[in-house]
C-alpha cells in the first residue's frame, strides 16, 4: 500500500469509528481472485441492475460470465457517464486486478473509455454501443446488436394482435438508434396490414418513469392497443399496458412477469450468449475485432417467448422472418421506402444491409409513424 498523504491510517479509521478494528487494508488490496490466477471481469452499469431493462440485460450477461470457470466477476451499478466511470474502471483494474472490462453505457465511451484504454494497454475494454473508430486504441472494442431485427419480428406480432390498427411507441430521444427501432416496429406491423400506424411519444430522457406512464396512458386513451418502448427501463410501460387491458411488446430483456396478460413477445439483447463467448475468446488469447456487431444471425439479439394468446398465424409469420434473418436473406430497410413527410428515403430496388453505417445516421420516421424527429 502506498500512501502519499500525511494521513495515518489509524487516524482515518478512528474518524470513521472503526478505530480498534485493526483491519489490515493491505490484505484487502490484493483480493483472493488475483492470487488464485483468475481472470477478473468488471461490469459497469449506468442504472440499477434489476431495472427490467437495459442494465438488467447486461447484468444477465454478467451472470452468464460468472458461471465460467476461472473467472471472477465484479459489478457496479448506477455509475453516471462522468469521470466516475473512469475512476470506477480504474478502481477495478487497480484494486481488483480486472483485465477485461464491460462499460455498458453508451456515453461511457468518449472520452472515458478512450482515455483509460490509452493508459492501460493491457486491459481489454468492451463497450456496448458500437462507437469505435479507426485510430482509436486497439484494446478498446465496441459492440452492438441489430436489435431492430428483433423489434421488426415483435412488430409482426403486434400487427397481428392490434384491432384498432394503432400502435404506441414510447421513446427516449429522437436519435438514430431509437428511430431505427420505431421504424422497424412499424414496418414489421405494416407487413401484416399496411394501414397500421404507430404513434410515437418522445419523453426526452432514458429514465423518466412518471412521464413514461403518462405517455403510455395517453397512447391508450388515443386508442393504441399495442404499446412498446425504447427507454432504459420498460417496466412502467409494460405495467401500464397490463393495467389498461391492452397489449405490449418488450424491449431490452424479458418483461413477461410484469405483464402476464399483455406481454406478447419482446426484442431482447442476447448478452447471455455473447458475453461468455467474448470473454472465452480473450482468455484463449484471441484478438477481438474493435467493432463487433451482429443481429439474429450472429446471436446478438433474440425474441421473448410468445404469450399463449399469440395466434398461430402471427407466430408462423414472425418465425419465418426470423429464420430469414438467421439465413441473412432478409433486410428491414429496403426500397421503396418513404418517410412520414412523403420523401423517398430508400429508392426502389435498393436494400440496405444491416452493417451499412448509413443506418447509424437514420434521421427519419417511416410513413405510417405519427410523430416528428425534431
Amino acid at each position: 500500500m502506498t500512501s502519499g498523504s500525511g494521513f495515518s491510517r489509524r487516524a482515518v479509521l478512528a474518524g470513521l469509528g472503526v478505530g480498534a478494528a485493526g483491519l489490515a487494508a493491505d490484505g484487502l488490496v490484493a483480493p483472493a481472485a488475483r492470487a488464485a490466477g483468475k481472470t477478473v471481469v468488471g461490469f459497469i452499469y449506468v442504472g440499477t441492475a434489476n431495472d427490467y431493462g437495459y442494465n438488467q440485460a447486461h447484468a444477465e450477461g454478467a451472470a452468464a460470465v460468472r458461471k465460467m470457470p476461472g473467472v471472477t466477476v465484479l459489478e457496479q451499478a448506477r455509475v453516471p457517464e462522468t469521470v466516475a466511470v473512469q475512476n470506477t474502471m480504474d478502481g477495478m483494474i487497480n484494486l481488483d486486478g480486472a483485465s477485461i472490462l464491460f462499460p455498458t453505457s453508451f456515453g461511457y465511451f468518449d472520452p472515458f473509455v478512450l482515455r483509460l484504454a490509452k493508459s492501460k494497454p493491457k486491459v481489454q475494454f468492451l463497450h456496448a454501443g458500437g462507437l469505435w473508430k479507426e485510430g482509436e486504441p486497439l484494446n478498446a472494442h465496441s459492440y452492438f446488436g441489430f436489435i431492430s431485427q428483433a423489434v421488426y419480428t415483435a412488430g409482426i406480432v403486434a400487427g397481428h394482435m392490434s384491432k384498432s390498427k394503432k400502435l404506441g411507441f414510447i421513446a427516449a430521444k429522437p436519435i438514430p438508434q431509437v428511430l431505427r427501432n420505431i421504424n422497424a416496429f412499424t414496418l414489421g406491423a405494416q407487413s401484416v396490414d399496411p394501414s397500421i400506424t404507430t404513434t410515437v411519444v418522445f419523453t426526452g430522457d432514458w429514465f423518466l418513469p412518471v412521464r413514461e406512464a403518462e405517455a403510455a396512458n395517453s397512447l391508450a386513451d388515443q386508442g393504441a392497443d399495442v404499446l412498446t418502448c425504447h427507454v432504459d427501463s420498460p417496466k412502467v410501460v409494460m405495467e401500464t399496458a397490463e393495467k389498461r387491458g391492452i397489449f405490449c411488446t418488450g424491449y431490452h430483456t424479458n418483461q413477461a412477469v410484469l405483464a402476464p396478460k399483455a406481454y406478447l413477445t419482446g426484442a431482447e439483447w442476447n448478452w447471455t450468449g455473447l458475453y461468455p463467448r467474448l470473454v472465452g475468446d480473450l482468455i484463449a488469447g484471441k484478438t477481438l475485432p474493435n467493432m463487433i456487431r451482429g443481429g439474429f444471425r450472429e446471436g446478438f439479439v433474440r425474441n421473448s417467448a410468445y404469450n399463449a394468446i399469440v395466434p398461430e398465424a402471427a407466430r408462423k409469420q414472425a418465425d419465418a422472418v426470423r429464420e430469414q434473418f438467421m439465413a441473412g436473406s432478409f433486410a428491414v430497410f429496403k426500397g421503396p421506402l418513404k418517410d412520414n413527410k412523403g420523401n423517398t428515403v430508400i429508392g426502389a430496388g435498393t436494400t440496405v444491409d444491416e452493417f451499412d453505417l448509413v443506418l447509424e445516421q437514420m434521421n427519419y420516421l417511416v410513413a405510417g409513424v405519427i410523430g416528428s424527429t425534431g
Binding site: 488490496v29 457496479q76 448506477r78 453516471p80 484494486l95
Partner: protein, 365 residues
C-alpha cells in the same frame, strides 16, 4: 476558550457522524454483511491507497465549488438549493465561449480563462436572480432557486441537443468537443485535474471573504438579523446580490471545470447531481466554506468506495445512498443540539456580548 467553543460547535456533527456509523452498521448487519469488513472496504476505496486518494479527490473537486453555491448564501440567511442549475448552465456557457475562442487559435490559457469567465458569469446571473427576486419581490429563494435550476437544465438540454449539437454526435447528442490540447490539465504526477486546485482556492477565498472582510461581516449581520442590518444602515439588497452572485460564480465555475477538464463537451450528462450533493456537503460543513473542504473529501471518498462494497460484498448499489441518507438525517437531527451542548469546562455564565456593529465600516455604504 476558543478551543472549547470550537469543540462545542463541532460536537454535534461529530456525534451525528458516530450515530451514522452505528446505524449504518446495523443496516449492514441486516443486509447480511460484516460491518467491520465494510468499513474497512470504505476506507480502502476512499483513502487506502494513493489511487484511492486520487479517485476521492477527483470526485470531491466539483463538490467543493457546488457546496459554496449553498454555503455562501447561507451566510446572509438564504437557503439556495439551485447549484445544479448554475453548474449545468455554467458548463454550457463555458463550451459556448470556448469553441469560438478555440477556433480563433488562441492559446489554452486564454481559451480557458474565457470559458471560466463565461461559466462564472452565467452561474452568477442565475443565482443572483434568485437573490434579487427574494429581496425586491419577496419570492422564497429556496423555491425560486430550485425552479430556476429546473428551467436552466431544460434550456441547456434543449441547446446541446438542438442549436449547439454537433451533427456528428449521432446517438449521444452533445456539443462539439474542446480540442484535447486546450483541456484543463492535471496536477503533475496525478490523475487529478486542476479543478481541485480551483475548488480549494475558492473555498479559502470564500472563507476569507466571509470571516475576514467587512463585506462578509456585513453579510453575516444581515444573515443573523436582516431587520437589524437594515436598521444599522447596511445595504441589504446589494449585499444579497453580491453574495448570491459569488455563490453562482462558484457553481458556474464547477460546470466549466466539468466541461474543460472532464467531459470535453456539454451534454445532458452535465446534470448528474453534483449540485445536489453540494447541498449535502454544505449542510455537513455547517455552511462554513473552510469546513467544506474536508466534508467534500469525505463525500468524494464515500462515492469512490461505493463500488468496493458492491463488488466485494455483493451489497446493492443503493448502499452508499443509504449511508448518505443516514448521514444527512443524523446531521439535521444533530442541528437541534447546536448551542444546547455545553462542555463542562465552560462556565454557564451568559454568553459574551455580541460584537458591536460598525455600520460606518460595514458595507462601505
Amino acid at each position: 476558550m476558543r478551543l472549547v467553543r470550537l469543540a462545542e460547535a463541532t460536537a454535534p456533527p461529530v456525534l451525528a457522524l458516530l450515530a451514522t456509523v452505528v446505524a449504518f452498521a446495523l443496516f449492514l448487519l441486516a443486509a447480511g454483511a460484516d460491518p467491520l469488513q465494510a468499513y474497512g472496504l470504505i476506507y480502502l476505496g476512499a483513502f487506502g491507497t494513493w489511487f484511492s486518494w486520487q479517485n476521492t479527490l477527483v470526485r470531491a473537486a466539483p463538490l467543493l465549488l457546488t457546496a459554496l453555491g449553498m454555503a455562501l448564501p447561507a451566510q446572509i440567511g438564504l437557503i439556495v438549493i439551485g447549484a445544479e442549475g448554475g453548474f449545468v448552465a455554467g458548463g454550457v456557457a463555458a463550451i459556448a465561449a470556448g469553441l469560438p475562442l478555440a477556433a480563433l487559435g488562441l492559446p489554452a490559457i486564454f481559451v480557458l480563462t474565457g470559458m471560466a469567465l463565461a461559466g462564472m458569469a452565467t452561474g452568477a446571473a442565475l443565482v443572483a436572480a434568485c437573490g434579487a427576486l427574494r429581496h425586491w419581490r419577496g419570492v422564497n429563494e429556496t423555491i425560486s432557486s430550485l425552479l430556476i435550476a429546473y428551467i436552466s437544465i431544460a434550456v441547456c438540454d434543449q441547446l446541446v441537443e438542438g442549436a449547439m449539437r454537433d451533427p456528428a454526435s449521432l446517438n449521444k447528442p452533445s456539443t462539439r468537443s474542446l480540442p484535447d490540447a486546450l483541456m484543463l490539465g492535471t496536477i503533475p504526477g496525478t490523475n487529478i485535474h486542476l479543478g481541485l486546485v480551483l475548488g480549494l482556492v475558492f473555498c479559502v477565498l470564500a472563507y476569507v471573504f466571509v470571516f475576514h472582510t467587512t463585506w462578509g461581516f456585513a453579510a453575516r449581520v444581515v444573515g443573523a438579523n436582516a431587520r437589524a442590518g437594515r436598521l444599522v444602515g447596511l445595504p441589504v439588497g446589494r449585499l444579497i446580490l453580491i453574495v448570491t452572485a459569488l455563490a453562482g460564480m462558484a457553481t458556474g465555475l464547477a460546470g466549466m471545470v466539468e466541461v474543460a477538464a472532464v467531459q470535453g463537451a456539454a451534454s445532458a450528462d452535465l446534470a448528474v447531481g453534483y449540485g445536489y450533493t453540494g447541498i449535502l456537503v454544505a449542510f455537513l460543513a455547517r455552511q462554513n466554506p473552510l469546513a467544506v473542504i474536508p466534508v467534500a473529501v469525505l463525500m468524494g471518498g464515500l462515492e469512490a468506495s461505493g463500488g468496493l462494497l458492491e463488488q466485494r460484498l455483493q451489497l446493492p448499489d443503493a448502499t452508499i445512498t443509504v449511508l448518505r441518507g443516514l448521514l444527512f438525517i443524523m446531521l439535521l437531527a444533530s442541528e437541534t443540539l447546536q448551542g444546547k451542548l455545553r462542555l463542562k469546562l465552560r462556565p454557564r455564565a451568559p454568553r459574551a456580548a455580541p460584537e458591536p456593529v460598525r455600520p460606518a465600516q460595514a458595507g462601505g455604504a
